[in-house]
Symmetry: C5
């Protein structure tokens, strides 16, 4: 075991060896294996946005096997998807890379200012098909947050009891949060803190913007002279908010965009001390060779080679 991985595992002193083993499987997988950095491929947009918007740009992705192979060939750390997509390839690619079952989901056939996800997977299913972790989305700030937190608590306890790791997508949302507030610095830091306090092994938040949502937080930043003008500084604050950097925290890539913009953002995440990225649409909606190239570049950035 590389020393850095052993160090990271040491932060999770209350988790059992089973959970640590699964966390290590992810951290030791692929081209970033052993570096303490990681890149995950998530494909839950089939449910979240519908198959047309999601897969038509690169129709190979209609086939669930496509994503397993993309993640393997790109040398990524893990592949995350809902139950159906994972079940459709778990036997064929058994042992090839760590899987994360995204156990809750929301389709966008109706809109809600205060969203709630439905539990569509389970710890039993994750164990049955050989996953290393479950993934779960919370919407801090939503009127339905109590339900979401309590389900997360129960699933986390069950997952960890059975030696799985837990990945939490923490996306503030709700009628008391402004649209830009969803990616505000204070709100992203808050999101990371909440996931950490809930017991997440890996935390996923959005890269924070140079904006502060809550008045009380603004006063604190100003008084302490916290610098928020560059992405690395903001990433650093979010990482600090996840137990002073003692929880693996990664960042999503957001909507599909140009290669330069993607790589620029990744550099910012790296420079701020982020542990890595979770990159979906920017990967699987590109033609396969382009996607492999992009993911190769991302990995190089985290390796410090680009």
């Amino acid at each position: 075991m590389k020393r850095r991985i052993r160090e990271i595992l040491s932060w999770y002193g209350s988790d059992n060896p089973g959970t640590l083993t699964n966390l290590a499987r992810i951290l030791n997988q692929g081209k970033l294996g052993g570096t303490g950095k990681l890149v995950i491929l998530p494909v839950d947009q089939g449910v979240e946005h519908g198959p047309a918007r999601t897969f038509i740009p690169n129709p190979g992705g209609f086939d669930p096997r496509y994503h397993f192979e993309l993640a393997i060939d790109a040398g990524l750390s893990a592949y995350a998807a809902p139950l159906g997509f994972l079940e459709a390839g778990a036997r064929d690619y058994a042992g090839d890379l760590p899987l994360i079952m995204k156990v809750n989901n929301r389709e966008n056939l109706s809109s809600d200012k205060d969203p709630l996800q439905a539990v569509t997977g389970s710890v039993e299913a994750a164990l049955r098909i050989g996953c290393a972790a479950i993934g779960y989305t919370v919407y801090p700030g939503s009127m339905h947050r109590v339900v979401m937190y309590e389900k997360l608590q129960a699933l986390t306890e069950e997952a960890k009891r059975h030696g799985l790791a837990v990945v939490v997508w923490s996306y503030p949302r709700g009628s008391d949060i402004s649209k830009e507030g969803e990616t505000a610095l204070d709100v992203s830091a808050y999101a990371a803190q909440i996931a950490a306090q809930m017991g997440a092994n890996i935390i996923k938040v959005k890269p924070p913007d140079d904006f502060v949502e809550q008045g009380e937080a603004r006063k604190t930043y100003e008084k302490a002279g916290v610098e928020t003008d560059t992405l690395p500084k903001r990433i650093e604050h979010v990482i600090k908010s996840a137990f002073d950097g003692r929880r693996v925290t990664i960042f999503s890539g957001g909507a599909a965009k140009g290669t330069d913009a993607v790589l620029e953002e990744i550099r910012g995440i790296r420079d701020g001390g982020g542990f890595g990225s979770i990159m979906g649409r920017n990967a699987f909606q590109r033609e396969r060779s382009e996607a492999l190239e992009l993911l190769g570049s991302v990995i190089k950035i985290y390796q410090g080679k680009l």
Copy 2:
């Protein structure tokens, strides 16, 4: 086992042999047995529309045994009905054809823009009376969808643990979906994707119309130049949306209509690569000999003989 059936079963690599056995029972039953195509008789309209509207047009259907015999004599693949209808014939026709217990239902004595079905059957009951599968309706888009998805998740897990197959009726509905949007192409594709992601072995959706409901989807279709002007092309898109054709997806027949219209639609489904039909009112509301003739024609279409 015919090679095509073995191929289909290979798509379900995460299901246990018990579930595959029951799926194979359906795919090997009746005149289409072994072809990879299937036609199911569903009779849940006694609950969904009431007995008067449902059975008066062909009063033999008041007797639950009528439908077992119709499905057997027509050489269909399976018979799907609520608990009561199945219990009323399961002993008499034990072993004659695969049964699917429709475990949730909704009567129409009150109206809701955002409908919800009640769970009226169970895995235990399905096992007790020898069913091959449970059937479950979700209404993607309904405000009550979270409840429906979570019950489906639990029932699917229980059914598959006990070696049953799972059939999902996926019918988008709800206050954010327009009336014509319920059968829009993007929405039907979305419905199929959701059912597949939830772990369905067989997916039932409505034949899609040449209409796109969601603005984001429309942009994608237009940009990619997806052709949507014929039923076969639209069926093909829906099939693609169900894991690139790696999930058995069948289409309902809708309201009772003339024989020619029915057969025309079946041809479209076949030509688009659909796996078959589920045909209720168009079958059991016709006089028995007429129904047998119609079902015979449907089967011939799927056999490529008509």
Copy 3:
């Protein structure tokens, strides 16, 4: 066992011998034993209407033992009441006649357009005090119907697993049903169908009036020329709607009324093929000797002697 009873039991091919034994206990009890007809005494009005309105007209009825003795002495088929009333006599009259525990109830101290009953009994309690069946009320059409159906599903499964029979009171009600619609022909037929589909062994509905509530049903009746002008014809339609007469369906007597009116209605039920009556207020609110005389006449009608 009389041939008719054996025939009736043959309709319930999916129920275990325990449930059939309890159903047979009811069908073999009292003066109508072995005829396939039955009359049940229900006394849940103490909860449903309050003790003053219910028992003051014939104060002997305040004592729970009164009703056991009335049902026994009149030679009825069974006695149905809530937990408390049954517990107060079950030991004294153990083995004297089949008991049906009415496991849900509603008091009328507040009003609701969309009513819901509370579960006040249980299968465990029914078994503990020697009942032959549980009884349960559903309100098809009520906004709370999903809750009621799901509880009925669970209770039915538990009851039948333990060899009890299930009696369902099916009373359409709710904000989308007009007052007269509650006893409309189509609605009564619908109510019977729903109870049958839910797995009821015995179904209780109200005698239908010559009125059709739902537009779609009206069209069907008119097109098919269904005759609805006499009570026997309407009863026949309801019986047909309960699996073509293959489920024991009985009719309530409604509010207390004159003897002639009661007997006239019973004849109509009999002539339409109804399996019997459930008669509460018309029985226990009369002075005992009068009640015995009336129940004697009712029995004679079902025996074809009056």
Copy 4:
């Protein structure tokens, strides 16, 4: 065992010997032991009204041990209180008098027209600390009644399975009941009936006023010429409504008031056939010697000596 107690126990023919033993413990306790009459001390006002209003008038009552000793020294039949108050003395006074754990409670820090109590105790806790019974409040008429009835059903089943007795406080309340209707004669009788039908061993209602709330009930009283002008006559009607006097029914004392008014009311309860009283604020809010004197007088009234 005194003959009267044996007679009372005979009314509960469906309860197990464990429950009868605990009921007998209450009926054989204290100065009224063996008479079939009983007086219970309830102290749940610390939660229901707050400690200031409750205990400042007689500050000894802040100490939970005070009430155990008051009940023992006054020779009462049982002491009823929430979990915390009982836990604070159960070891010290173990075996000294029967305890009733009031397992649901409501504080008055917010107001509701349709109240609901929270479950704050349990059968497990009651057994663990040696209680003879659980106590539970229902609010017939409240919009939340279904929840309350269903919890009572479950708790009663669990309590009786473990040999505890069940005491039900039945207090009609809710937006469809007028303020004076809460203690109307028909409503009090209804409350007693409901508790009896739910399986209560001991029923607690408020003494009824000479007022009738429900129109249908009024007609019945008038038609039957029921006399309602004296408290004994009204008590008699309530007792009759509790299974013709075959359920132990006791009456609360209401707000603190003068000694003469209290004793006058007790005589009315006794003369109407009431089984006893439950007296809280009128007892523990008086100075201890006064309280003992008052309770002594109450007992003498029930003994027929005053």
Copy 5:
């Protein structure tokens, strides 16, 4: 065991030796060990207020280990925090001081007049990481109080069955309570009483102001001439309301403020007979040496040395 601790334990006669052992661990810990006084460090503001407002003033606190060390070095009695913060240090500091898992929490990303906390920890987790107690917040007066009380009841029962102690934060809140009413004397006393009645071993309330919220309580205070003008007198009343001082009741420090104001308040708590303090922001938001000095002074006050 010091006599005072043995005396305190004697008040909890219904708790098992396991719970008493854990309560003793807290009372025997640190500089106040054996005195019957205690000071607890709580750090749940990362969730309740967000990490920015909470930890920027003293950034060492971003690291979860900081708080363990602060509590140990200051000689405090226990450290209370949510699951995540405790899990992040429980192995490193195992056995160093008693831990209290705060098992419910609320973030402030949306506002509610009637707040509700989400359950984010569990008894299983508390046992697994070696905690001495669970901590739980109730909001008496909130419209969601029934849910909160019932969860507390269940958690308390489970915790005590497994030998943990239970600490209840009782903070009245809700649309029927005025802002200043939240710390009114009668309301604080009420809050303490409720926690005691729910079975709390340690009760935490806010120091009461010289204000009375409820009209009925005001009358009682005035009639009895209760003096409320100094903090010690008010503290005394609250302590009396917690079972006449037979439940360990401690007071929170509120928002960060100046050292003198803090110490002044602590003296008031001590002089009124309070058992101690729970001090979060006033401790961990100060620079470490200042915090140690302040906590040292607080301890000296409780030791009667300052």
